[in-house]
């Protein structure tokens, strides 16, 4: 750091607001798409894994592998498969991959936590096993699913920045730009906005949870692996 330059320059934020806000919007779009697809895939997969022992191991195995492979490596591995490394499909498949283990794990944990009495009552009322799973067990597992959603969303928001290395990145573009020209301010902008975005999304999910699952006020902590 040269002595003449301050650590953070506010002028950058005001003069580059157009670029920052468009990066922020791309960040939000990449995040929402990944979490939405991840949720749509995870809940049925979790129900299958919970219901049928035979598919449990392959489902958790594949989800764990996608989770463990570092994001940058996953982009490079997916590139030749999707055709282009620097593309939305590459980024989205990888981002969705990271949500699967978190969401499936939490959904299964939620189904496991359903009280036996509730399940027995459903049977007594004439629900078949599958109907009960959909209309009794799944709603009762919602607090766990929401907990998973919070973790998955925060994780994706952090990971989207890495997609800057394959030419996307949302706020990650601020980070790589700052690094390339050796300028602190864009990096700090990327960092602070990512953290703030994660906090806002977390509050939104908690808000939706209170509306959707009014019988639980306290949010349960997510557990993964």
């Amino acid at each position: 750091m040269s002595t003449a330059t301050p650590f953070f320059k506010w002028g950058y934020v005001t003069s580059q607001w157009g670029q920052i806000s468009s990066d922020l919007l791309q960040h939000i779009a990449l995040t929402l798409l990944a979490v939405a697809i991840g949720t749509v895939l995870s809940i049925p997969l979790a129900m299958l894994a919970w219901r049928y022992r035979a598919v449990r191991t392959p489902i958790f195995g594949i989800a764990s592998a996608l989770y463990i492979i570092p994001s940058l490596a996953l982009f490079a591995i997916l590139g030749p498969i999707t055709g282009y490394v620097a593309s939305y499909p590459t980024a989205e498949i990888a981002l969705v991959g990271y949500t699967l283990l978190i969401l499936i794990w939490n959904t299964v944990a939620g189904l496991n936590a359903v009280p036996a009495e509730a399940r027995e009552a459903a049977t007594a009322m004439g629900y078949s096993r599958n109907a009960a799973l959909l209309r009794v067990d799944l709603p009762l597992a919602l607090p766990y699913i929401f907990a998973g959603l919070r973790v998955a969303t925060a994780t994706v928001i952090g990971l989207v920045t890495v997609t800057a290395l394959i030419g996307l990145g949302g706020l990650g573009q601020q980070i790589t730009y700052g690094f390339t020209i050796g300028f602190n301010t864009p990096i700090i902008v990327g960092l602070v906005f990512s953290v703030a975005l994660a906090a806002v999304f977390d509050l939104l999910i908690v808000g939706v949870q209170r509306l959707a699952v009014p019988w639980t006020r306290s949010s349960r902590r997510a557990r993964v692996v």
Partner: protein
């Protein structure tokens, strides 16, 4: 050429990359890159164990600062790794130290501490209060309770924290190649920037295998050093990735 021919050609090139002797020797060879990544990751995890484990043990033993300890891991999840790496890497006082090692070490350390701290704290608090009271009633001092009762019982949680941290650190040390540290991330980064998909893909396979080996190895180790009577205990808070 059909897609299948493309794929076969590509995989043959990948096999070619792995069997090129130049990729196995010298300062850009796989063994050297692996050692650099292992060296960085090990230093970071040990550092995080001292700092995070130490704070977790003290807070857990005294029962103070619980809110901070429990939320540390979740708060850290949202911090973009790339931002910390690049920020440290462009501070001249840091970036010039030890070939980029210090910048990568500091960025990774910040990420590695929270999971260990949170898990250690939670593990200490999960120790049954009756067990703790019984130990005190038998005349054990505070330090003895910590070493001989709380710590062994908290082992599954502590190991889960170390495992989470290690997976995250190994993954993130790949990104350190972007800020000019040299390790297995280097072929991935250089392959991506020069559109050499074979090099990027091959490097990525090595990184993926390393991350998988660390995850599996630490899982086995965690079970092995957990005291027998509590091996069934499932533990650990959520993971993070880079």
């Amino acid at each position: 050429m059909s897609d299948w021919d493309h794929f076969r050609h590509f995989m043959a090139s990948v096999v070619g990359w792995f069997t090129t002797s130049a990729n196995w020797t010298g300062s850009s060879g796989i063994p050297y890159l692996f050692l650099r990544q292992a060296e960085l990751s090990l230093a970071v995890v040990l550092g995080a164990l001292v700092v995070g484990g130490g704070i977790g043990l003290v807070l857990g033993h005294t029962g103070r600062g619980g809110l901070v300890a429990v939320n540390a891991a979740n708060a850290a999840r949202a911090v973009p790794t790339l931002a910390l790496l690049t920020l440290f890497a462009i501070q001249p006082s840091i970036s010039l130290k030890w070939g980029g090692f210090l910048a990568a070490f500091l960025a990774l350390l910040i990420l590695a501490i929270p999971p260990i701290l949170t898990n250690t704290y939670v593990g200490m608090r999960e120790v049954d209060a009756d067990v703790r009271d019984a130990a005190k009633a038998m005349g054990l001092t505070g330090g003895q309770v910590l070493r001989r009762v709380e710590l062994p019982l908290a082992t599954p949680f502590l190991m889960a924290g170390i495992r989470t941290s290690s997976i995250e650190v190994v993954a993130t040390s790949t990104l350190a190649a972007y800020v000019s540290y040299t390790d297995l991330g280097t072929p991935v980064i250089s392959g991506l920037s020069t559109e050499n998909t074979v090099e990027a893909f091959s490097g990525a396979i090595l990184v993926a295998v390393l991350a998988g080996a660390v995850a599996l190895g630490l899982g086995v180790l965690g079970r092995a050093i957990t005291p027998l009577p509590i091996r069934h205990t499932r533990s650990g808070t959520a993971l993070t990735t880079a």
